[in-house]
């Protein structure tokens, strides 16, 4: 219902809609579309991770999925910018980026050398 009314307001040129509630920020729909596209991309990468012929294909796909997840969490932080603070989501995102990189290098080292020391 909210989406419909906001879309109508946008389409009709909201000249008269300045002082009453106009639903979520219209930029939120762009961010939501970005989230959906990132999820579709992660699903395509998951297919490659499942059917990759070598182990390096799987590592590559999982690493790219982790990068996509970092950006997805940052996008979710901005979904409701008017009411919530995205700082905590961005903290989570930074930590996920670090863990993603370290995990990729650790898995590569384990596969190549057979040990982590």
């Amino acid at each position: 219902m909210n989406l419909l009314s906001t879309t109508l307001l946008l389409a009709g040129g909201g000249g008269h809609a300045e002082h009453h509630y106009t639903g979520p920020n219209p930029g939120s729909y762009v961010i939501f579309a970005t989230c959906v596209v990132l999820l579709i991309g992660a699903m395509l990468l998951l297919i490659r991770a499942l059917k990759g012929p070598t182990v390096f294909d799987r590592i590559l796909a999982v690493n790219a999925m982790g990068t996509k997840t970092v950006v997805l969490v940052a996008c979710i932080a901005f979904l409701d910018l008017d009411k919530s603070s995205p700082g905590f989501f961005l903290d989570t995102s930074i930590v996920y980026a670090l863990v993603n990189f370290v995990a990729t290098v650790a898995i590569l080292k384990y596969i190549q050398y057979g040990r982590l020391s």
């Binding site: 297919i47 970092v70 008017d82």
Partner: protein
């Protein structure tokens, strides 16, 4: 929907295009070394564009605060919060720009140096396999050889301990000798390969 928000939406949509292109490239490219290309470049550019767009959204929020801020809240505190958000976005962008290509490089190098995995290459049958050059023969320090079966008796469960221990010692000595012989064979192979490589030049 302010001007900065429109600019941010543009960057978000372009980033979406790059992200989807990179994912389709990783899924559809014919062999492993080709798949490294979309994963290494397209995704890095996509995340840069998307985070830049989100930064524009935060900037629009700050502009709204200046233009018609509500008197109920202190605008300075909200402005500091938005600056915090932008700082975290910049940090995240720098972090991803550093780590994502590094991780891709590490994956490609590991696949290159891995001598027990034959990366399948699509292409002409007679063409030389780009994954089969002598770079894969480089001995990496700390690399482990193929798993060697223990020849001797490892655990001693017999009652007559001295004889069993002697057996175990001789067995381990045999294993050491085998390992030495393998190392010598490998060491003797490598100079020959180097000579073969240097001959045409």
């Amino acid at each position: 929907m302010g001007a900065l928000q429109i600019v941010g939406s543009f960057f978000l949509l372009v980033g979406c295009v790059f992200a989807l292109t990179g994912s389709v490239g990783v899924l559809r490219m014919p062999d492993f070394y080709s798949r490294l290309h979309p994963a290494g470049k397209s995704d890095t550019l996509a995340q840069g564009l998307i985070l830049l767009g989100l930064g524009f959204f935060a900037g629009q929020q700050a502009l709204d605060l200046f233009s018609h801020g509500d008197g109920a809240h202190d605008p300075t505190a909200q402005l500091i919060g938005l600056a915090n958000i932008v700082l975290k976005l910049v940090l995240l962008t720098l972090l991803l720009f550093l780590t994502a290509p590094t991780a891709t490089h590490a994956i490609s190098k590991a696949a290159r140096l891995d001598r027990y995995t034959n990366i399948p290459i699509d292409g002409d049958e007679g063409a030389p396999d780009p994954g089969s050059s002598t770079v894969a023969e480089i001995v990496v320090p700390g690399d482990v050889g193929p798993l060697q079966e223990a020849t001797g008796q490892i655990f001693n469960v017999d009652d007559d301990a001295p004889a069993a221990e002697a057996d175990a010692e001789s067995g381990s000595a045999d294993a050491d000798a085998d390992a030495d012989a393998a190392a010598e064979a490998e060491g003797s192979d490598d100079p020959a390969d180097a000579e073969d490589k240097e001959d045409p030049q």
